[in-house]
Amino acid sequence: MTFLSLNMSVLAVIVPLMAAPICVLLRHSGLAWAWATAIAGITFVLSIGLLQHIMANGTLVYEMGGWDGPWGIVYHIDEVSALVVMIVAAIAAVVMPYAKLSIEREIPKERHYLVYCMFLLCMAGLIGMAVTGDAFNLFVFLEVSSLSSYVLISLGNDRRALTASLRYLIIGTLGATFYVIGLGMIYMMTGSLNMTDLATSLPEVQDTQTIHVAFAFVIIGFGLKLALFPLHIWLPNAYTYAPSAVTAFLAATATKVAVYAMLRLIYTVFGDVNPFETYGLRGVMIALALLGMFAGSLLAIFQTNVKRLLAYSSIAQVGYMVLGISIGNAIALEGGIIHMFNHALMKGGLFMAMGCVFYMVGSTDLKDMAGMGKRMPLTAAAFVIGGFALVGTPLTVGFISKFYLVQGALAEGWWPIAFMIMFASLLAVIYVWRVVEVMYFQKPADGDLSYNEAPIAMLIPTYVLIGAAVYFGTDATLTSEISLNAAQTLLGGSK
């Protein structure tokens, strides 16, 4: 047990990373799926253990190969990292059981094992990004997760998945390279890549032009990855044309991890520099976050494909997270962090509901949603509940997030921002309602209202996430405690 608890952080990365090639060796679709599911489950258990360990004992620093920092690569896990690891692993553990049928329907059988292999790689990359304490290592894991997600997206059965994937590849690579450029400059000035080490040495050089430029590169690099408005253009197509299970997984995790990386950079690496004040970053970030919230929601209103609608909604929701990060007090930060978790639940659940529809109907166009309230009542109900969460109705997770975010804004006396948060949720009402109205009030073109629900194996995982979105909305004691701790740890770094 001591071995486990000591090495949990590494195991959470290593297990899926090592397991991925075995999928290729297994070849058989069902076997590969079973293997990947088992691995996802194991990783989830590990991540829970890790989170418990961190909550009980505080920050964990793991030195790879016994080389201590700043020379060796260290894993540095605090509450935020552990929470993000848990999000990724949990979503993976829920999506994998769901993926079997969905992927069988959408992807040719001979490619199945590759999907599962890439899935595990992506998961390893994302978890790696969350646990690493080394800035260059972050880039490596970023690329591991990115490359595998390009592949996953390109496997969608629409040919537009290919172009979406390629465009994402180009933009994603630019973003990652921007990050490397910035990091290079930081390295020139400090001679270190270790995040905690950087945190102490950066303030000495914070006013040099090199660091200014470096900071800009780093932030833009991750701004691209987390689809911060206006760097979001890759996202809608990628989420729309990727296979349903992939979209559910990526939408719930990939942007969150990128937000986490941004958080890490601003609050840990540049924590003592306090870039919000020093570089005037706060105004820019808040403006972009608000723009993202409104632009994303407004664009979502006019979409005719529900998956794309949800993708635009993701851009808006990322805005909420960035807003929480940039307001800068503990409550808002808590809101931003808790929203990473909450949004993963609801968006994962919503995309899975759409996956169910796609499984049965072969389309996620709005016009094909007609009559879903009768034809697929359970799926439609899941969508409605998820939609409520997206809007931020009380008793769902969305409310908890907004509760903290608005409190954070008001605590600074920024009531216009509080209003804008609310107003943006109103836009969410509109785009969710458009879908709900079609589902429940429109008759399908062929008039067929017969009961035709998705298989139970897909519904259960969907309802696990949707149920969690309700559960953690009615009892947020646990999640708010974790994110409050996380926020305090992050802010502690800047004082």
Binding site: L147, Y150, S154, R160, L162, S165, I170, G184, Y187, L193
Partner: protein
């Protein structure tokens, strides 16, 4: 001074020249292969950047020997080895995607692909 500043920063001038050329190709060219080539140029500029900053005047490879006092920093080399691997993977994947796009769209010109996609909407 000029004698020092110009050759000393020459590498960085080249880095930024390459970087801008690469970025320009990615943005301006419609041909997907060229875009990927541009991406490569862009990445290579970063490799050069890292290698340049590791070089110390008069320094040699970091191998312990009696007569050598000054070593270049080996760490950026290692980092860039990793980055090169990543770059190769990205290029390979990008080219594979281009092949698939050619198969399903019969073109690799981005503007033509956009036309086709808009028509099919």
């Amino acid at each position: 001074m000029i004698d020092y500043a110009f050759p000393g920063l020459l590498n960085y001038w080249i880095v930024f020249l390459l970087m801008m050329i690469g970025l320009y190709i990615v943005i301006a060219h419609e041909n997907l292969i060229k875009k990927i080539v541009g991406l490569n140029v862009f990445q290579v500029s970063v490799f050069v950047f890292y290698i340049s900053m590791a070089k110390i005047k008069g320094g040699t490879a970091p191998i312990l020997a009696d007569s050598i006092e000054v070593y270049s920093n080996p760490l950026p080399h290692v980092l860039i080895l990793t980055a090169i691997v990543v770059g190769v993977a990205t290029t390979a994947l990008g080219l594979a995607l281009v092949v698939r796009i050619q198969e399903s769209y019969d073109t690799i010109e981005d503007d033509e692909i956009r036309d086709i996609e808009e028509r099919s909407d």
